[in-house]
């Protein structure tokens, strides 16, 4: 008991010294102000930062590590309101669209910088276009019992620890789930809907489900194949390696000026994260200024046997434009039919590419076809030769001579250009003043 009491006394002395010194002395020696004052100052500082220069920001939002990121535009007002705009498939679902169809939405709600262990940006009243990622209701896209997310939802954050501010960029961390994100200042003159539309257009220019794969080109000359880009959850594996056993998936966000991985990715020793869209539609890594992301050459894509193209008949030039009214006139004279579309595709049964004229006569569709060869010439040229037609093709060659003449005019070497080198879904094939724009199907 004596020993206990001695220990007890010693402990009390030690405890008292700790307690007596814990509140102020140490702080006075290190900081000019106490913790509360410093926190209040930080809060005021971040409110000023958020509302300064028009108060408009782009947030690169990740709900969790398994979904793509989404861009939100936020305009902070000193009166405590924030207008949040977004455009994604989840907003589309809220608006009653089919799953996968994107929708644009904008709503005003409340915000504040609150103080916890540090300054916290809190979106503290419900905004249906933003808090949808934190809502614990079942995610409507999945309706089987095994996929019942009731109680969980996407598990996204709406409170963010404000970590750092530098060069009009705020570094934030989701308070509950700990995902690091960034906010970048945007001009107050930006129209939210236009801006979000540009982000969507940016996404479309990078990836299209019809383009089978694109490539990350490392400075060492090694290519890594990227698949499933249109989902924004990229499947990546080294060219030549086994796709199934070696591929990894990475979620990305499409921003207003490029693409960013959620976390840095290291491939062959090169660490990449942020890519900027180049004028030709390719992507350049902002981190090393060397790594690029491109697709196959245009000449390979136009001659890919798995792709089907249709001519944009409203945007066609030179001799081809001249043929169209003749074809229409001759079709009417022959059997009162009309031209619906012109298609370039691979015909497996003939092991050949073909140009097909889809003709509609009443409810009947007829497809006069002329077989062609496509031979890539470098990256941006293709040589086309035109051969015989199928039975309908030969018949229409006599009844609608302009159709065959159109096909014959496709012979030659064409320069290729596209809306984007990554997702060339609109390919321009031109020879002098003659051109056709082929749209991928």
């Amino acid at each position: 008991m004596k020993k206990f009491l001695n220990i007890s006394l010693l402990s009390l002395v030690a405890l008292s010294s700790l307690m007596l010194s814990s509140c102020k002395n140490e702080i006075d020696e290190i900081f000019d102000e106490d913790a509360i004052a410093r926190l209040d100052n930080k809060k005021a500082e971040y409110i000023d930062i958020l509302t300064d220069k028009g108060g408009k920001w782009q947030m690169e939002y990740y709900a969790n590590a398994d979904e793509p990121g989404y861009i939100y535009l936020m305009t902070f007002d000193k009166n405590g309101s924030v207008t949040i705009s977004g455009e994604n498939q989840w907003i589309g679902l809220l608006q009653g669209k089919n799953f996968g169809a994107i929708g644009y939405g904008s709503e005003t709600s409340l915000w504040d910088v609150i103080t916890d262990n540090g300054p916290v940006l809190s979106f503290n009243s419900f905004n249906k276009y933003f808090h949808l990622f934190a809502d614990p209701e079942d995610i409507p896209s999945t309706d089987t019992e095994a996929d019942d997310e009731t109680g969980y939802g996407h598990e996204g954050d709406y409170e963010f620890d404000l970590m750092k501010y530098s060069n009009d960029t705020l570094y934030i961390t989701g308070k509950k789930y700990g995902i690091d994100m960034i906010m970048t200042r945007v001009s107050p003159n930006v129209d939210d809907e236009v801006y979000m539309g540009e982000v969507i257009a940016m996404a479309d220019s990078f990836f299209n489900a019809k383009i089978p794969q694109v490539y990350i080109n490392l400075p060492n000359g090694v290519r890594w194949i990227v698949k499933d880009g249109a989902t924004s959850i990229l499947k990546v594996f080294r060219e030549g390696a086994d796709e199934i056993s070696t591929s990894e998936t990475y979620n990305v966000i499409i921003t207003h000026d490029g693409l960013s991985f959620m976390n840095p990715v290291t491939l062959d020793g090169y660490t990449i994260k942020n890519f900027i869209r180049q004028p030709d539609g390719s992507l350049l890594c902002r981190d090393d200024n060397e790594t690029t992301m491109t697709a196959d050459p245009l000449s390979s894509i136009i001659s890919n046997s798995r792709l089907t193209w249709r001519a944009d008949l409203t945007n066609i030039g030179g001799v081809y434009a001249g043929f169209l009214p003749q074809i229409a006139s001759e079709l009417t004279a022959y059997n009162k039919s009309t031209l619906v579309y012109i298609q370039l595709a691979y015909v497996a049964a003939k092991s050949s590419f073909a140009v097909t004229f889809n003709v509609k006569k009443g409810a009947t569709k007829i497809n006069p076809t002329y077989y062609v060869t496509l031979e890539p010439q470098g990256d941006t040229q293709v040589k086309m030769t035109v051969g015989e037609g199928d039975q309908a093709g030969e018949l229409y060659a006599t009844k609608v001579p302009s159709m065959r003449a159109f096909a014959d005019a496709l012979a030659g070497t064409f320069n290729l250009s596209a809306n984007s080198l990554l997702a060339p879904v609109n390919m321009k094939m031109e020879q002098g003043n003659n051109y056709i724009i082929w749209n991928i199907q």
Partner: protein
């Protein structure tokens, strides 16, 4: 000597504790535990009208802070929750005043809620789901201080439906306030003995309302434990219309049986029939809604299946399930109400029936558009 040392040790501990407690802050306690928001309200604030309303009608009147901007740290981090919408917060703020605070003011006196009412009301936009148990929390009272109301964002779907509003908010508030009151002055232990042995804290959510009514509970949740039973009895008695309350008593008076006694989640039924009126067939259990009654001139009541006749065109006779639980459910419920009634009168000088009448009158025809004007201006009393 040992004793002396011990006492010194104890005194030192007290002294150290006192010094440590007094060393950090020297603030004097003011009349309210909350910051003096009166001085901080900003007329240019987006929420100025609502904040002013809350200041005048909650903080100043009841020393109550009405939290509609939800900081996550105010809620249980184990749940995934979202804030309430600003618009629904306005609606709930005015409805809480009209259907709850003003009622107690009128019946119990203006000081009652100021003394015993909650100090914090927190609005939460989403339900608090517990995915493991398949339940959701619709309200939460913590330590007699804080009442949390959930599912506020769904409110605009049933803003003019008193039943739904009661279910999610006002019944919840009466329920939680009953907890606050009995945590302050305990109710007679007699209440806990009425249904002893029939509570099920683990599987109450799998019970049916008819089954538990027959056992003497007003709701399935009431059958979870006696404190919830007490709060549910008061809350349901106050907010249920006469028709709804009588339905509970009617269910409590009947016998109930499960379609499958081996399945705890199976439904319970109070009526059955025999196919083709042939009593040698297995009984088929049916819902209340499928039964219709015919009363003879001599007052005899006959029950029939609503949907079909037998092959000869005769109505299918419906039989009552025998009440085998040995409990007069209606009597048990009314007994509980009587205990609550007496306790409220004796301990709190609150007349439960006056409270109920006032709530019934107000909830019957409230005009939300007009009530909103309490916040935006132009309210017509």
């Amino acid at each position: 000597m040992k004793k002396i040392k011990y006492y010194i040790s104890a005194l030192l501990l007290v002294a150290v504790a006192a010094m440590s407690l007094s060393s950090c802050g020297e603030e004097k306690l003011g009349p309210t535990i909350f910051p003096d928001v009166d001085e901080t309200l900003d007329p240019t604030s987006y929420t100025y009208q609502l904040d002013t309303f809350l200041l005048e009608n909650y903080l100043k009147k009841y020393n109550l802070t009405f939290l509609y901007k939800m900081p996550d740290i105010s809620t249980n981090m184990n749940y995934n929750l979202v804030p309430a919408t600003y618009e629904n917060s306005i609606d709930l703020a005015v409805l809480c005043k009209y259907l709850w605070f003003d009622v107690y003011d009128k019946i119990a006196g203006k000081e009652f809620l100021k003394s015993y009412g909650p100090r914090i009301i927190l609005l939460v936009g989403s339900p608090a789901y517990n995915p493991t148990s398949g339940t959701e929390i619709v309200g939460l009272a913590e330590g007699g201080i804080k009442v949390s109301l959930f599912k506020v964002n769904a409110m605009n779907m049933f803003i003019n439906n008193p039943d739904m509003m009661n279910e999610y908010y006002f019944k919840t508030m009466h329920h939680e306030f009953a907890h606050i009151l009995h945590q302050t002055k305990t109710y007679p232990n007699e209440f806990n003995t009425i249904s002893i042995g029939h509570y099920d804290s683990n599987n109450w959510q799998d019970r049916s309302e008819g089954q538990v009514a027959s056992l003497g509970f007003v709701t399935t949740y009431a059958s979870s434990e006696f404190r919830e039973d007490f709060a549910e009895t008061i809350a349901n008695y106050i907010v249920k219309t006469d028709a709804q309350w009588n339905r509970i008593l009617d269910m409590a008076s009947r016998g109930w049986t499960s379609g499958d006694e081996d399945d705890v989640t199976s439904e319970f039924f109070s009526y059955y029939y025999y196919k083709n009126n042939d009593v040698t067939n297995e009984p088929t259990y049916i819902y209340d809604r499928d039964v219709f009654t015919v009363t003879d001139e001599d007052g005899t009541v006959h029950k029939y299946w609503r949907n079909f006749t037998d092959p000869e065109g005769n109505r299918i006779v419906v039989y009552d399930v025998e009440d085998k639980d040995g409990i007069d459910g209606a009597e048990a419920i009314l007994h509980k109400v009587q205990i609550a009634r007496s306790w409220l009168k004796d301990a709190w000088n609150v007349d439960l029936d006056e409270l109920r009448n006032e709530v019934q009158t107000r909830q019957a025809d409230y005009d939300i558009a007009n009530l909103r004007k309490m916040v935006t201006g132009g309210y017509n009393q």
